[in-house]
Amino acid sequence: MNAAPSQPALALHGIDKSFGAVQALTGVELEIHRHEVVALVGDNGAGKSTLAKIIAGVLVPDAGIVESEGVPVTIPSPTAAHALGIATVFQDLALCDNLDVVSNLYLGRELRRGRGLDEATMEETARRVLADLNARVPSVRVPVSTLSGGQRQSVAIARTLLGDPRVVVLDEPTAALSVAQSAEVLSHILRLRDMGHAVILISHNMTDVRAVADRVEVLRHGRNNGSFSGQGSSYEEIIAAITGATTVAGRSPVPAGARGRTAR
């Protein structure tokens, strides 16, 4: 239940980030609670991936406050993000094709027993995590290169679950997948939500977004441009906010110089 937990699992306030003359994010606000799927949508260059990278600790914001369960924190590195319980799956998945599923899941944090690796425990946990997701990966000992796009996405999502994260960030998880594979990934997202994780979903596909999101946050030219209920709002409202046909009341219009030049 999202029975109004008092503190959001992660909150970002007034985030600014610029790359030289390009202002990628301006005063961005984002809150996410446990047991909630928040979709981050916007045009190319709206700042979605920049925001994801800030949450993942890849980029450091120029200004703004990040709070984890109400406590101000800084995320200077991906390791720090991991320690805060934030796991991110980027578009390229970052899997090693030549390694098998178990090795990919434990890449860089292999379990050890004595001098060797604790293969048995790793394999068992890998199976359990994949089963928790209802993932259809027949064998955990095949190289990742033999898996389909959807199965690779399943492995990448399963990897995030090993650290029992509070927040899972998924960057375009259904891009370039077939319909059956997208169906699988969307089901995983609902499963993550049911398991009590906070999920941030970045996607272009309005149908996918509205299928699983509890809340849709629109970014436009690096600024918040509206927050919509995933259940109550229509395609038209969200798309109007993405394209700028509607703007959030009280915000100044985007300066002409900033148009179409934001960096990723």
Partner: protein, 382 residues
């Protein structure tokens, strides 16, 4: 067996991995099952090495089933013995679009055929379940506005054009009633009512062992029986329908101020976990649905009433007040009081019903094994 069904098809080596058995054991089991005609093996290759692909045996082709819910789409393939060969569920948005939905359904059917290693020629027919009353003669939704944006679309025709196969369409509660009658809780009953309490509310009626759809498909539409003359306007255009009181939107609105924004699944889970607010909402819905079903049961006098749909997953939280309400409103029959049963097929009732409908549309005998068949309409596979 379970592993083969779950993955649709997989090689013997993968099967050993998935089941935790040794490859030698798997090989022996597969040989035995092949001998018994339960599974089939096909030569395949995995990462350049030869392998044996194991799938469930399909002697007489496969039939497809598609279920559209308010928030999901399920596509399954089955064989003539009603065994589900492969299944995929996909979440859908509120008020999902008809063009996107039908397109995805068609693609999913084709992808599932690939998953079980079948060619498109092996597909015989497809049955479709919709959460709206369907007119059997025209195959269109009989009441305007019940599914936003789907009015005037000939669902069967659009899909059969895409798949080049005959497509039959029916209401989801009707198909669930059919499935429970053929395979589930009411196998031994002649007259039964299936009540589907989910995002919407509907009923399927089986009389004398046959599905009763009514002249234009709206029989059993209990969701649109008026329960509150001064209630809000329903999607169908009438006022104070049962669905405006126990539909998911109404139920979720009741907990919004106390629990925040929930989904129907959250509400059901909350009731199962013992959250008092969620239990109360579901229990009151059971009471309200019971009073409407009582009127239907008084008219039809069924042997049994089966309750299914998402709300029924709360078990006695829904069924207790439902039974109590029936007892108070139903004409007391001392000789043979009506039985109230939980759905045996659960969330799979609708998809199994769609499979049964698709099967009945082929010229195959009920047991499916004696008569060879061909699709009744030949078309170019696209």
């Amino acid at each position: 067996m379970e592993a083969v069904r779950r993955y649709g098809g997989l090689t013997q080596v993968e099967l050993a991995e998935a089941t935790g058995l040794s490859t030698a054991t798997v090989s022996t089991i597969v040989k035995e099952l092949t001998g018994a005609g339960v599974v089939e093996t096909h030569p395949a290759s995995r990462s350049g090495r030869r392998a044996q692909m194991v799938t469930l045996a399909r002697r007489l082709g496969v039939v497809g089933a598609v279920q559209f819910g308010r928030r999901h789409l399920t596509v399954a393939l089955g064989d003539p013995t009603r065994e589900i060969l492969a299944e995929q569920r996909m979440p859908l948005p509120v008020d999902h679009r008809v063009d996107t939905g039908l397109d995805r359904a068609a693609l999913l059917v084709v992808e599932l055929l690939e998953r079980v290693g079948a060619s498109t020629d092996e597909l015989l027919t497809v049955g479709v379940a919709l959460p709206a009353p369907v007119d059997q003669d025209t195959g269109m939704i009989a009441v305007q506005g019940v599914m936003r944006g789907w009015d005037g679309i000939h669902v069967g025709q659009v899909l059969s054009k895409r798949l080049a196969r005959p497509v039959v369409v029916d209401n989801d509660a009707n198909l669930a009633a059919l499935a429970e009658h053929e395979l589930g809780a009411t196998r031994t009953h002649r007259d039964s009512i299936f009540v589907r309490a989910s995002h919407g509310t509907g009923a399927g009626i089986v009389l004398g062992g046959r599905l009763h759809r009514g002249y234009a498909g709206t029989a059993g539409e209990i969701g649109h029986v008026q329960v509150d003359p001064s209630g809000p306007i329903c999607r169908c255009g009438n006022r104070g329908c049962l669905e405006t009181v126990v539909g998911s939107e109404a139920l979720l609105a009741l907990v919004r101020s106390s629990h925040g924004e929930l989904t129907l699944r959250d509400l059901v889970q909350g009731a199962v976990d013992g959250d008092p607010g969620c239990r109360r909402v579901v229990a009151d819905a059971g009471d309200r649905i019971g009073s409407v079903v009582a009127a239907l049961a008084t008219t039809l006098n069924p042997q049994a009433i089966v309750v299914g749909g998402e709300l029924a997953e709360t078990g006695d939280v829904l069924l207790g007040p439902f039974r109590e309400s029936l007892r108070r409103h139903l004409v007391p029959n001392t000789i043979a009081p009506v039985e109230v049963l939980a759905s045996e097929l659960g969330p799979r009732a609708e998809i199994l019903g769609a499979l049964a409908l698709a099967l009945s549309a082929t010229d195959m005998a009920a047991d499916g094994l004696t008569v060879a068949s061909s699709p009744s309409i030949e078309g170019d596979p696209t």
